[in-house]
Amino acid sequence: MADLEAFRNEARSWLEANYPPSLKTPMTEDEAPWGGRKAVYKNPDIKLWMDRMASRGWTAPTWPKEYGGGGLTGEEAKVLEQELRRIKARPALMSFGVWMLGPVLLEYANEAQKKEYLPKIVRGEIRWCQGYSEPGAGSDLAGLQTKCEDKGDHYLINGQKIWTSYADQADWIFCLVRTDTSKKHEGISFVLFDMTTPGVEARPIKLISGSSPFCETFFTDVKVPKAQLVGALNKGWDIAKRLLQYERQNISAGGFGGTGGGLEIEDIAKKYVGTDADGRLADHDLRARLAAHRMEAKAFALTVRRVEQELRAGKGLSPATSIIKYAAAKLNQDRSELVVEAIGLQGLGWSGEGFSPREIGETRAWLRSKGNSIEGGTSEVNLNVVAKRVLGLLDHQ
C-alpha cells in the first residue's frame, strides 16, 4: 500500500511537470491523438504529450517494459488513470494497437513479432486498422471469404473487407483471412500487413452523421511475407475472438464517448426546456425519462466498478462483463436521443446559420451513436452470446 502511495506521488509530480498546459482545453475531434505515419498535429504539444507518455511506457501502462510498455501492475495502472483524470488530461494516444492488437500479440505472437510490433504501438508510430467484416460476413464473421494462398515464400491475399474503420488513415492492418476453404472456423488465419503494400486499396464510406470514418478495403494480389502470420495457420479464429473481447471491453470501459462538450444532460435540458418555479424541468414527462436515464447510467457505472473490483480481488472475470458492451451501447444511444429531444428542433441542425457548433455536434453525435449497437458485434449477437454461454439457453436441436 505504501508502495502504491509512493507511486501515486511520483506519477502526480511527473504529470504536473510534463502535461503540456496548451492541452487543458477539451479535445476536439481533429485533435484526437491517433498517431501513425500520416498523422498531422495541429498543435505540436499533442505529439509532445504522446512522446513523453510513451517514453515512460504509459501509453500502454501494463505491457512489459521489454516491449516498450510501462510494466505497471493493475493497481498501479489504476492509480495512473486516477491521476490522469485528476488533471483532466487528454489521452496521450488513441490506438487500435493499444486497445485490441497489442494484448493478443502479447498472448499469441512469437518473440520476434512482439519485439517488432509492440514498441511501435506504444510510441504511436504505427496506426492499425481492423480487417474483420466483409460484405457477406458481419455477424457471421467466421463466414469470411478473403482468400489467402500459400505461395511458397509468401502469402497471396485477394478479397474485400468492409466497414474498416480508418483504413484510409492506418499504416497497417490486422486481418482475418481464409486459408482453408473446406472448414469454417478452422480455416481462418490472422495476418498483419502494411497498407502501402501494392494491391491494397481503401475507399472511404460516408456515414449518416456526415463523416467518413470507415472504408471499403480491397485486396488484389497482395503479397504478404510469411513472418507476418500470427499464431499457427488456420488457428486465427481463437485470436480473432480474443481480440473481440478486448475490443468490446475497451468500447465499454470508455463508454462511447458522448461528451456533450462537458455539459451534463440535465444542464442541456434546463437550458432548452426551462424550469418551473421549484427549479424542476418544465417538461415533467421529459424530466421523468431523464431521471430514469441518469439512474441507468449510475447502475452501469456501479456495475463497471464492481466488475473491476472483483477482477482485482482475483475473482476472475465476472459474468457481468458479458452485458457491459450491450448496456454501454444502449446507454449512449439513450443519452443521445434524450439530448436531441431536449434541444428540440435546435438539435436537428445540419450546418450553417441558426445553429451553434455545439448543437450541430450533438446532432452528429446522435447519428453516430446509432452505430454503437452495431460496431464491435451487434447488440443482438451480444445478447445471443449471453443467452447461450452465460445462461445456458441453447438453440433447440
Binding site: 457471421d140 466497414w163 417538461d283 436531441v340 441542425g349 446559420e353
Partner: protein, 378 residues
C-alpha cells in the same frame, strides 16, 4: 384501413402511382444533394397542384374538391412513404385550415382559391423556440393607424422561406404563456421588414427563421377577431398535427417495409436473418404499432371531417402515437440493416433524420401526452 369512398380510393391510388413514378426516395436524395435551399422541387409541387391535391380540403366554391381531411391524409401518407419534400402539408392543409376556420369570406375567396389552384405556397408561423409552445407566443402586434405593426421572431417555420402567404400568431394582449390575447395575421412573404433565414436541417426540408421588424399590415389582414386567435390556432394546429401524423404513418410504414424486405433477403449463418426469432418478434411488434397508429391517424382525420368534439384529443393521440412508432421504426431500420444502415448511401439515415424532425414539429410525444391528459381532465 378505414372504409374508403370511391373518390378516396381513387385519390389514394393516384397518389401511390404518382409517388412511385415521379417522387421515389431517390428524388428526395437528389434534392438533398443539390443543396437547394428551398427544400422542395418546384416542378413536383406544380404537378401536385395540377392533380388537385392542393384543393382537397378546399370547398368547391373556392375551386377545391372538398374531399376532406381523410382524403388529404391518404395523399400525405403516400408522399410520406418516399420522404417527398413539398409544401403540401403546410399550404394545402395547415394554412388552408386556418383560412377555413377563421377566414372571412373575402379572405377565403382571395387565398383559398389560390391555394386550391396550386398558385401559392403558404405557411403557419407559430413557434418561436426549439420546442412547440403556441401559448408562449411573444411576437407582438400593435394597433397602428388603420392597421397593425408586428415585431418579433418565429423559428423553424416549415416552408417559411418559400411562402407567399404566412399565417402569423402574434400577441396583441397579455403575456407569453397566456392563451388569451393572441391574434392571427395574414402576412405576405415579401412584406417590408420581414427577414427570412433559410435553415439547413438534418432532414433537409425547407425551414426558415423569420424576423419581423416593424412589419405593417392592414386591418383586413386579421384572421378572425383581434384577441380571438387562440381557438382558431388550436383547431388549425390539431388539423396540422393529424395531417403530419398521416405523413409520419407513411414514413414509418415504408421504413418498416424496407426493413422487412431486408430481413427476408440478407443472409448470415447460412439463413435469412428474418429466421432469427429475436428479430421476428421485433418486426411483429413494430407491425402491431403500425396498425395501432393507423387507427389513430384515421380516427383523427375522420373526427376533423365530422366536426367531432374529440378531434383535438384524437389529434394529440395520433401525433404522439405516430411519433413513437416512427421513432421505433426508424431506429429499427438502422439497427436491422447492420453496418449498411449506418451509411449515407443507404436510405435508413434519411428516414431517421426525417423522423426526429417530424416528431418534434407541432409537439412531440411528451407534449401530446400532457395535452391528452389535460383534455381528458386530469
Amino acid at each position: 384501413m378505414a372504409i374508403l369512398t370511391e373518390e378516396q380510393t381513387m385519390l389514394r391510388d393516384a397518389a401511390r402511382d404518382w409517388v412511385q413514378a415521379r417522387s421515389p426516395v431517390g428524388a428526395f436524395r437528389k434534392l438533398r444533394d443539390s443543396g437547394d435551399g428551398a427544400g422542395y422541387d418546384p416542378a413536383l409541387w406544380r404537378e401536385m397542384g395540377e392533380m388537385g391535391w392542393t384543393g382537397v380540403i378546399v370547398p368547391e366554391a373556392h375551386g377545391g374538391s372538398e374531399f376532406g381531411y381523410l382524403g388529404l391524409g391518404l395523399v400525405l401518407e403516400e408522399t410520406g412513404r418516399t420522404l417527398t419534400a413539398s409544401p403540401l402539408l403546410s399550404t394545402a392543409l395547415t394554412a388552408a385550415s386556418a383560412l377555413l376556420i377563421g377566414g372571412s369570406e373575402a379572405q377565403k375567396e382571395e387565398w383559398l382559391s389560390q391555394i386550391a389552384a396550386g398558385a401559392i405556397v403558404a405557411a403557419l408561423a407559430v413557434d418561436e423556440h426549439a420546442h412547440h409552445a403556441p401559448e408562449k407566443t411573444a411576437l407582438t402586434a400593435v394597433k397602428s393607424g388603420r392597421g397593425w405593426t408586428l415585431n418579433g421572431g418565429k423559428a423553424f417555420v416549415p416552408e417559411g422561406g418559400a411562402a407567399d402567404l404566412i399565417v402569423v400568431a402574434a400577441r396583441t394582449a397579455g403575456q407569453p404563456g397566456d392563451a388569451d390575447g393572441l391574434t392571427l395575421f395574414l402576412v405576405q412573404g415579401d412584406a417590408d421588414g420581414l427577414t427570412r433565414t433559410a435553415l439547413k436541417t438534418a432532414d433537409s426540408r425547407g425551414y426558415a427563421n423569420l424576423t419581423f421588424k416593424d412589419v405593417t399590415v392592414a386591418e383586413t389582414a386579421v384572421l378572425g377577431e383581434a384577441g380571438g386567435g387562440w381557438p382558431i390556432l388550436e383547431e388549425t394546429l390539431d388539423r396540422a398535427r393529424a395531417g403530419l401524423a398521416a405523413e409520419m404513418l407513411g414514413t414509418a410504414a415504408q421504413a418498416f417495409d424496407v426493413t422487412l424486405d431486408y430481413l427476408k433477403t440478407r443472409t448470415q449463418f447460412g439463413q435469412a436473418i428474418g429466421t432469427f426469432q429475436a428479430l421476428q418478434h421485433r418486426a411483429a411488434k413494430l407491425y402491431t404499432e403500425l396498425e395501432l397508429t393507423r387507427s389513430c391517424v384515421e380516427a383523427a382525420l375522420e373526427a376533423i371531417d365530422n366536426g367531432s368534439a374529440d378531434a383535438g384529443a384524437l389529434a394529440s393521440l395520433a401525433k404522439a402515437k405516430a411519433g413513437e412508432t416512427l421513432h421505433l421504426a426508424s431506429n429499427e431500420m438502422v439497427q436491422m440493416h447492420g453496418g449498411v444502415g449506418m451509411t449515407d448511401a443507404h436510405d435508413a439515415g434519411l428516414y431517421l433524420k426525417r423522423a426526429r424532425a417530424a416528431e418534434a414539429i407541432y409537439g412531440g410525444a411528451s407534449y401530446h401526452r400532457d395535452r391528452y391528459a389535460r383534455l381528458l381532465g386530469f
